[in-house]
Point group: C3
Chain length 398, copies 3
C-alpha cells in the first residue's frame, strides 16, 4: 500500500506498521526502517501480517481507535521521555521468541522489571492495568507459568480470563482452527497469553490477532519469558552480564531453557559458557556453531567441581525422563551424574549463584536450599517481575 | 396467598411475585396480570415457585432486603424513566429460554446492549457491577460461552467464580441434586450462569434459586443468549429485522441455534425464511408449523446460490458429526453439500451478511473471512455486548 | 537463637517467632510463652520452622518488611484495641487443624465472622483485602470448598489465583515436592488455601511457607474450617454452645466432620453428645475416650426419634459409599437406617435445628428443607462468613 499524508491513509498505515499498542500513529511511519533485531535465518517478519486487514470493514472499530489515539497523543506529551528509540518499541507487539530481543531491548525491559519489584499493595502502580483483561489460553497445562502470569496481571490491577486446559475443553475439540479461536478470544480480552503443544503456534496466533500475544511456550519451540527471566536473574544476582562465566549443566540436548539462554548470552561481551552434561544429552551443534560465529568462548567439560569453582552462575537443569522413552537405563545413568550438592557449594565463589528453571527433582539436593547462593526460588520470583514488565509494556507502553 | 396492604404482607408478596432484582416492591402488585410472553404450549410459569418460600425463616435476610429496597426506592426517583412497562421488566428474573422474549423486550435489551458497546476502560459504566459476584457453573465444558460471560462480567467491574467442569468435580459426582448445588452456590454469589447436559436443568435451577439464573445451554434444550445475540447481530448489521430475508443453512435438524432463531424471527413482520440443508438434517415440522401459524413465509430450497442472492442474512451452521454416530458416510455426504465460499459471496448483495454460531470447520472457506460481509467474528463480539446487557439488567435493572 | 535488644536482631527474632502477618514486631517477644493451645499428643509446634530462615539472604525482602512494619505500627495506634491477648493472635499464622483453637480463639473468630455477615456491596469493609492475592491450590477437586473460599476473598475485595486440579496439572506430575511447589506459589500470592490428598500435607506446607496456609482438607486428616463453621452455626442458630445437646447421626466412623465437631464441643461446658449410627460405622474409641477424659457426657443410642426430641442440634451425615468397597449390601443396609424426615421434625423442639455438612443424598428427605429448623443451607452460608473472617485475620490481623 502506497504511503500517503492524508489522515485516513495514515490510520490505515498505522494498522499495518504500528505496534498493537501504539500510542501515536505518526511515530510509526519512520520506525519500520529501524528494525534491528532481525537476524538472518532466525526471524521472519512477525508483525502486521495481511490478516490484520480483516478488521477494515468494522467502521465503528476504526472510529474507536481514532478516538483513543487522539486521547493517547495528548496524554503522551506529559509523560516522561522514553529512554530509547521508537524503533525498539516497535518490537513489543507480541512476545514470540527469544530471538526478537537485542541487548538494548533487554536492558529496557529489565529496567521496567526492576520498577515492578517495588509495586506494593499501596503504591499507585498496582492499578496500572486496571480495566485491562488478560486471557490465558493454555492448550497444555502449566500451572506454574499460568499462575505467574495471572499473578503478574493481578499485581498490576488487571483482570484475568482463565482456560486451564483449552485443548480438551475448547471448540478445538470440534475441529476449530487456532486462528478462529484467536479471532474469538481477542473479542473478549486485551491480551492473550498462550501455551500450545505445537511449535510455531504462537507465531500463527500473533499473525491473526489484533491484540498482543505472549508465547508462554509452544511445544518444543520457544518459551521466551523463561529466557528473559533467566537473564534478568543473572543481572540482578551478579549485577552484570558482560564478562561472566556460566556453567550450563544437565540435559542440554532437550532443555529449551538452556538453548535460549545460550542464545541470549551471546548478545553480551566476554561471556564464557561451559557445557556439563551426560553424553546422551549433550548440547547440539547448532548452538555451539552459533556461539562460535558470535565470538563467544565455550567449552565442554565433564568436571562439574572445576566448572563450579570457575563460574559466576551454575545453571542446573532436570534430566527429562519423558525424552528417554523405554531406555530407562540410560535415563538412570544420566540422572545421577552431575548433582549440585554441598560439595559443589564448597568450591563455588562467594558471589556466585545456583540457578534452575524448576521443577527440580534431585539434581540439586535440598540441603543446598538454605545457602544464600541458591537462587532458584528467587529466580521464580524474578519471573513474576519480568511478566509484570511485559504486560505493562504490551498494554500501556514504555 | 391473599393480597394485603400491610407492610409485612407486601414484602411477602414481593418475594412471590417480584423479580429477583426488583427495585421497588409496590410496583409489582399490579404486574402479575401483565405477563405477556406466555404462549400456550411454549412456556409454563417459571417465576416465583413455592421453593422460594424456603428462605422465609431467615429473618436477617428479610431485614437486609427491606433495607436494600428502601435504598433502591429512593434511588429510583432520580433515574431516567423506563421506556416500557413494569410488566415487561418482570420477565427478567432469569434467562431460561428464547420463548420468554417478546418483541418489546428484545428491543429494550438491544438498546442496553448498544450502550454496552461504548463501555470503555475509562468510562464510569465499567464499574457498574462492582461488588457483584457471578458464578459460572458449567456441567459440561464450553470455553467460548464461559469466557464470553466472564469477559462481560469483568468489563462491567464485576467478579467471577469459575467452575470449568462441574460435572466431574463437584459434589454432583457424590449424588447431590442440582437443586441442592444451586442452594449452596447461591449463598456464594449474586448470579449463576449455568451450562448443563440435561434439557430443563436451567428451569429447575431457576425454580430453586433466590438469585438470577442465566441458561448458558442445557443439553439439547435451550441456549437463549445465543438466540438473542443472533437477532442482535442482524439488527446491528442490517439495521432492521422487519422485512428481512434469512437463509438458514446446514444442520437444521440438530442445531438448536437455527431453531431458536426461527422462533424469534417469527415475532417480527414480513420476515421470509429459507431452509437450505442436506436431506438427512432438514428442519423439523414443529418449527415449520409454528412459522405457518404465525403467518411467517418460509420455503425449502436446495439452491444455495439462488437463496444467497435473495437474502439479507445467510446463516450457515456446522454439520454436527457427533449426531451421525457410526454413519460417517452420511456425515461426509451431508458435510460438503452447502459451502459458503467466494462463489456465494459473488452473488450476495452488497449489504448482506454471512453469520455462523462458531466453531466453523470448512462450511465457510477461510477466504471468505476477509470480506466485509463475513459477520461471524463480529457476531461473537455482539454476544459479549448482549451478555453485558443481560448481566446489567438482571443485577441492577433497567 | 539468643534474644537481643538490637534492632536487627529484633527483626530476625520476629521472623522466627512472630506470626506471618505480624503487625508490630515488638509485641512478639513476649508472646512465645503464652501459647495456650498445645495439648499433649495433639499438636506439635507448627510455627516458625527452620526453613523460614531460607529467606534470610534476600536483603531486599528484609528491607520491604521493615518498611511495612513501620507503616503498620503507625496504623495500629488508631485501631480499636484488641479484645484479647497477643498470645492468642500468635496462633493464627496458619489454619492447620481443629486442635489449634481454644474456646477464646473460637469466640474471637466468631465475633469477626458475625461482623462479616454485615459486609455489603456498599460497605467500606468490602475492600478490606484489596490488593491481596489468594492462591487456591487444590490437589483434589472440591468445588464447594473452593468456591466458598474464593467467594469469601472476593467479598472482601481480594483477588484469586485458581488451581482446580493441581495434582494432574502441576509440576507435581513431574515429581516436584510439595515443599518446592509451595516455595514457588508463595512468590505469586499472599495466602495459600490448600486441599491435598495426603494427611499432614497442610502442616508440611505451613512449615515451608513464609505466607499463611489454610488447610482446606488434607485427605483423611483435617478440615478445620468445616469444624469452625459447624460450631459457628450452632452458636448462631441456638445462641450458645455451653449446655447444649447434640445428636451426631450417620457415618461416625469415616466422617472427619463429626470427629472434629466432637473434639471442639469438648471445649465447652455441660455439652451432651449422642451418637446414632449403624453398627458398621460407629464412632471410634479415640474420640469417646477423649470426651470422657474431658468430662463430656456422651451416649450411644439406636433411637433417633428419642434423641431428636432431646437435642438442640441433630447433625446428620452421609453414609460414605466409597468406604464400603465391594460390600454394597452393607452400604445399602446402613444407608436407610437413620433418616431425618417429617417424622423426626415432629418430635424436635421448636428451637432445635437440623445440620448437615452437605452434599446430602436421601438421609434428609427434601420435604424437610422447607422447615425453618432445616439449617443446612444456612450452615453453608455461615461457612462463607467464617472463611471471610479467617482471611481477614490471617492477612490484616484482628
Amino acid at each position: 500500500m502506497a504511503a500517503s499524508s492524508s489522515l485516513f491513509s495514515s490510520s490505515m498505515h498505522r494498522e499495518m506498521l504500528a505496534p498493537k499498542t501504539s500510542k501515536c500513529p505518526q511515530n510509526f511511519v519512520c520506525c519500520h526502517s529501524k528494525i534491528s533485531y532481525m537476524e538472518p535465518n532466525y526471524l521472519k517478519q512477525v508483525c502486521c501480517p495481511n490478516s490484520r486487514f480483516l478488521s477494515m470493514n468494522m467502521s465503528s472499530k476504526w472510529e474507536q481507535m481514532d478516538r483513543r489515539d487522539a486521547f493517547h497523543c495528548r496524554a503522551l506529551k506529559t509523560e516522561r521521555a522514553p529512554t530509547f528509540s521508537v524503533g525498539q518499541k516497535f518490537q513489543l507487539n507480541d512476545i514470540i521468541e527469544a530471538q526478537q530481543f537485542d541487548r538494548d531491548i533487554l536492558s529496557a525491559i529489565f529496567e521496567v522489571a526492576q520498577d515492578m519489584e517495588n509495586v506494593e499493595k499501596d503504591s499507585p502502580d498496582n492499578q496500572l492495568l486496571k480495566g485491562y483483561l488478560m486471557a490465558t489460553l493454555f492448550y497444555e497445562p502449566s500451572t506454574r507459568t499460568r499462575l505467574s502470569f495471572e499473578s503478574a496481571m493481578r499485581r498490576l490491577g488487571g483482570e484475568v480470563l482463565t482456560t486451564e486446559n483449552a485443548r480438551e475443553f475448547s471448540s478445538a475439540a470440534k475441529g476449530e482452527t487456532l486462528e478462529d479461536t484467536i479471532r474469538t478470544i481477542e473479542g473478549y480480552s486485551d491480551i492473550i497469553v498462550m501455551r500450545h503443544f505445537e511449535s510455531g503456534a504462537a507465531r500463527r496466533a500473533a499473525a491473526t490477532s489484533d491484540i498482543p500475544i505472549i508465547n508462554a511456550g509452544d511445544g518444543p519451540g520457544q518459551h521466551p519469558t523463561q529466557a528473559l527471566l533467566d537473564v534478568y536473574t543473572i543481572q540482578r544476582e551478579i549485577g552484570k552480564i558482560d564478562g561472566i562465566k556460566v556453567g550450563l549443566v544437565g540435559d542440554l540436548a532437550n532443555g529449551r531453557t538452556v538453548r535460549s539462554l545460550a542464545y541470549l548470552l551471546a548478545k553480551f561481551k566476554d561471556v564464557k559458557i561451559y557445557f556439563v552434561s551426560p553424553d546422551v544429552v549433550k548440547m547440539k551443534d547448532d548452538i555451539k556453531d552459533y556461539l562460535t560465529s558470535k565470538g563467544v568462548e565455550w567449552e565442554e567439560s565433564s568436571d562439574l567441581v572445576e566448572v563450579a569453582s570457575e563460574c559466576d552462575v551454575v545453571y542446573q537443569t532436570r534430566i527429562q525422563k519423558e525424552r528417554f522413552g523405554e531406555r530407562i537405563d540410560l535415563y538412570e545413568k544420566a540422572r545421577g551424574k552431575y548433582v549440585v550438592n554441598q560439595g559443589i557449594l564448597n568450591v563455588m565463589q562467594r558471589h556466585a549463584v545456583v540457578m534452575h528453571p524448576l521443577p527440580r527433582l534431585d539434581e540439586i539436593t535440598v540441603d543446598v536450599d538454605a545457602d544464600p547462593r541458591a537462587a532458584y526460588f528467587r529466580q521464580a520470583k524474578y519471573g513474576l517481575y519480568i511478566r509484570m514488565a511485559l504486560l505493562k509494556l504490551l498494554l500501556v507502553g514504555w
